[in-house]
Subunit: 256 residues, 2 copies
């Protein structure tokens, strides 16, 4: 490329990175020839030299298709995308390779990782630490090891409950999330939210709510609604831990 334009490699490099440092004529010639030849700086060579790839990876522990169905993640990606754009970087979605993230991590030429919903004691995270790739946890359990951004489960739940209580509702229903499959205990997120509800209920001296567990789907929410007590013990407000279940409740209650 440098040869074709009759200039040095420096000139070419300048043309693409710091055009100001180049004379008008040279710049134009370089760009002209570059266009004709379809020349583009080789990303790998660039990354090698600069020690940065301009790419930030998103670790996706689940199957790609699961991610696509998840509304929370979709919105997250939208925000991520915009942010990354502002910094002229690229987003690299890294799904598991051969069922594990480890291999995928090594392949990816990435300046840093954002890890979605990965358990803080996941082996992949340890690998990242050893390699020394900066990593931020999103939607994971807190961990002193890594910076993390998470949902304020307790606070959000308490605010939701307070809202209903403020409106005067005292007969509430709580739609829980199903327990973890393996240990049949509440997920950490669920127990935090429950604590939030209870804090609000205690503050208002409200009676215990009707509790029911339902999956995070609209039909499950609708079924939960149908299971509510009827008559005068009928709940007048519903707290659902899952958005999808909440929508199901709205549908079953004829509210939309």
């Amino acid at each position: 490329m440098a040869g074709a334009a009759g200039v040095s490699k420096t000139a070419v490099s300048f043309a693409f990175n710091t055009p100001d440092k180049l004379g008008q004529a040279t710049l134009e010639r370089v760009l002209q020839v570059a266009h004709e030849l379809g020349y583009t700086p080789h990303p790998a060579a660039r990354a090698l030299s600069l020690r940065r790839s301009g790419t930030i990876g998103v670790l996706i522990p689940q199957r790609l298709s699961t991610v696509f169905a998840n509304q929370f993640l979709s919105e997250l990606f939208q925000g991520l995308g915009e942010l990354v754009e502002e910094h002229d970087m690229t987003l690299l979605l890294v799904p598991p390779l051969d069922g594990s993230l480890e291999g995928a991590i090594r392949q990816a030429s990435v300046d840093g990782f954002i890890s979605l919903g990965l358990s803080p004691d996941d082996a992949a995270l340890a690998t990242l630490d050893r390699i020394g790739i900066p990593t931020v946890l999103v939607d994971s359990e807190e961990s002193p090891e890594h910076p993390a951004v998470n949902v304020d489960d307790a606070g959000g739940a308490e605010a939701a409950a307070r809202h209903l209580l403020d409106l005067g509702h005292r007969q509430l229903a709580v739609i829980m999330l199903p327990p973890t499959r393996s240990q049949s205990v509440l997920t950490p997120a669920a127990s935090r939210r429950l604590a939030g509800y209870q804090a609000a209920l205690a503050a208002f001296d409200a009676p215990a709510p009707y509790m029911v567990t339902a999956g995070a789907t609209m039909p499950a929410g609708a079924r939960a609604f149908d299971s509510f007590p009827k008559g005068k013990r009928r709940p007048t407000g519903v707290l659902a831990m899952s958005d999808m279940a909440a929508i199901g409740v709205l549908g079953a209650a004829g509210l939309r």
Copy 2:
């Protein structure tokens, strides 16, 4: 790294790529030290030397969030993911950067691109050609320039129509897709499908179907169903161009 283990760079390279070519003892030592140091071959350097990155990019013309909501694309990604896995490669989702794909294309260190639903005359494609990155078109209009894999709109539509006709149905309804926003004509895919329906209808000498246009959503499908003629002119079979609309019809018809 080579120094730390007291071996040459070649030994390290062999340890990670062709372990058989290394003596038992050396191999173990290298891997041991590598683990302690958290060493991993630098992906960019590797790519530079090998002239391949082990990454195949997927060009996503739409907003990322749109993709996540699209069931067709989700399934496509699942298949892509599995295939890519078999070849020990990684999938790089490349959304537009600064609103255009061009920038993103240059950043990405990719061995080839799969372009989703990109118009064959898109500028980005021309860029790829000039740069010389092999590209396959998926779900685009046919083009002699690029290998492409597409849905057989006409064939599929004709098969669907023939199925209903074979079953004896003669009073059919067709749920069309909305026209393109800008030109208010049928999308190419829609017109191909329509042609497929008509071919089947002609072959069976069937009367013209009841036609209605609906968006590609379940509620739109349900509304379309409600708009059908009642009584003896009631359609007995429905051909929907959109899966989602078809599901909406099923729901409205009480069939699930």
